[in-house]
């Protein structure tokens, strides 16, 4: 019942915002801006840049609100817009390069394990150390839940390239985590 009422409230809010009601638009912004800023921050190293991308993302949200047909969650729809905007910004900065590395054949998805939970700031720091290409594929796969086929279409690369990039990202993260553990605990 609570879910239904929440959905109905969103619908009303969305209708008003689509009609240009500034109050409704502000409400939507207040509801989703903190989470969407976090999404943008995953792809972009600097907070100012992440904010700018979030703004352009919300501009697209409000100007294209008519295209949201109610299929799927509204938050998921906004999130996809934010991901696309972040990737576009990386492309503009010419940081999103996928070098033609030797593709890892028969690569297997190995999940890495760590000894103890990390704080979110530490995680963000580890991710920031990755190259833009590795980081983007890793976030899309591991955090957003995209399949390799979807990543390939989004980034205009092959599925194998996507898999290779993920492998490289994981490897690098493991190395960083090991180095961190060694520093903290004296173990690998």
């Amino acid at each position: 019942m609570k879910l239904v009422s929440l959905h109905k409230n969103y619908q009303k809010l969305i209708s008003k915002a689509a009609a240009g009601n500034r109050k409704a638009q502000h409400q939507i912004y207040e509801l989703f801006a903190p989470k969407m800023l976090s999404v943008c921050r995953q792809y972009l190293k600097h907070m100012e840049e992440a904010e700018a991308v979030m703004l352009s993302g919300f501009l697209k949200v409000f100007t294209r609100l008519d295209s949201f047909k109610g299929e799927g969650s509204f938050e998921g729809w906004i999130r996809r817009i934010m991901v696309n905007e972040s990737i576009s910004r990386l492309r503009q900065n010419k940081n999103l390069e996928f070098r033609s590395e030797q593709e890892i054949e028969n690569s297997m998805d190995h999940a890495a394990y760590i000894e103890s939970a990390m704080e979110v700031e530490e995680i963000q720091k580890l991710i920031d150390e990755l190259a833009d290409g590795y980081r983007t594929v890793f976030i899309l796969y591991a955090v957003e839940g995209y399949k390799h086929s979807e990543i390939a279409e989004l980034l205009n690369i092959s599925e194998n390239t996507s898999k290779t990039q993920l492998y490289k990202a994981r490897k690098q993260l493991q190395q960083h985590v090991s180095a961190q553990n060694k520093l903290n605990y004296g173990t690998r």
């Binding site: 240009g20 009601n21 502000h26 919300f58 394990y113 000894e115 990390m118 979110v120 995680i123 591991a142």
Partner: protein
């Protein structure tokens, strides 16, 4: 402690994370939305065009009304002139009626008319006579025709009929009526007072004057009156159109402002 799946751990932490945007972010977004709305939404553009059109129409209406008032004054002044001129012939008409009455009655009537002529009232009437150049020849022609002195082939009857228009015929009829009324009064009372004759003449004169003003049977149309009627119609329709547009434009602007503030 059980090892933690690194990727699952990252997913949990990052998906639930929220970062607070800076204060000015919404203001920036709001201004960008305003710009987007103005550039993309043709409705707002049309609102601006409609508002400017309303202002132009108001100015035109004001200018048009002031010029119409000046023209109306001119029209009124012009109309007074013919009315004044229509009053002028009335003394002449009165005199011509009297001339016709006396001359026709002298030629056609019996001793009763002569008795009327010998009374004081006739003396008074005769004193009022001022022969008119225009009417006298007509009367002479009539009398000569009636006597038969002039052969018909000597006169162009069509020309005479053209000159003797409907108003002259009407006048003639009125004169006969006056004469008949005078005769009736005399028969009844053995004498006719000056006042009674003057009253009869005044009534006949009034009727002739009214007929001249109306000009209904002569098919004459006053062009000035017709033009003023047409202009009034045009002004009325244009004014109605302007008020209608103003009303619609005001409604649209009011609705847009109300929605914008919501």
């Amino acid at each position: 402690m059980e090892p933690v799946n690194f990727e699952e751990h990252i997913r949990e932490k990052l998906q639930d994370r929220e970062l607070k945007p800076s204060e000015a972010t919404w203001d920036q977004l709001s201004s960008q939305l305003d710009q987007e709305m103005l550039s993309n939404n043709p409705g707002w553009r049309w609102m601006a065009i409609a508002a400017s059109l309303i202002g132009i129409l108001l100015m035109i209406t004001m200018v048009f009304n002031t010029s119409e008032m000046e023209n109306a004054d001119n029209i009124v002044e012009e109309n007074t002139i013919p009315q004044e001129s229509s009053d002028a012939p009335s003394p002449k008409l009165e005199a011509s009626e009297v001339v016709l009455a006396t001359q026709i009655s002298e030629e056609n009537n019996t001793k009763q008319n002569s008795e009327v002529a010998t009374t004081k009232e006739d003396v008074v009437i005769e004193e009022k006579i001022k022969p008119q150049q225009k009417v006298a020849p007509l009367v002479e022609d009539l009398s000569r025709l009636e006597e038969g002195d002039i052969a018909k082939e000597d006169y162009d009857t069509n020309k005479l009929k053209e000159t003797l228009d409907e108003s002259a015929l009407f006048m003639n009829n009125k004169v006969n009526e006056v004469v008949a009324s005078v005769q009736a009064i005399q028969q009844k009372n053995d004498s006719v007072t000056v006042a009674e004759v003057e009253a009869l003449l005044a009534t006949a004169n009034r009727e002739i004057a009214n007929r001249r003003i109306l000009e209904s049977s002569t098919s004459k149309i006053d062009p000035v009156m017709l033009l003023s009627d047409v202009e009034k119609e045009l002004e009325r329709s244009f004014r109605d159109k302007v008020f209608k547009i103003l009303g619609e434009g005001f409604e649209q602007v009011r609705t847009a402002v109300a929605e914008r503030n919501n």
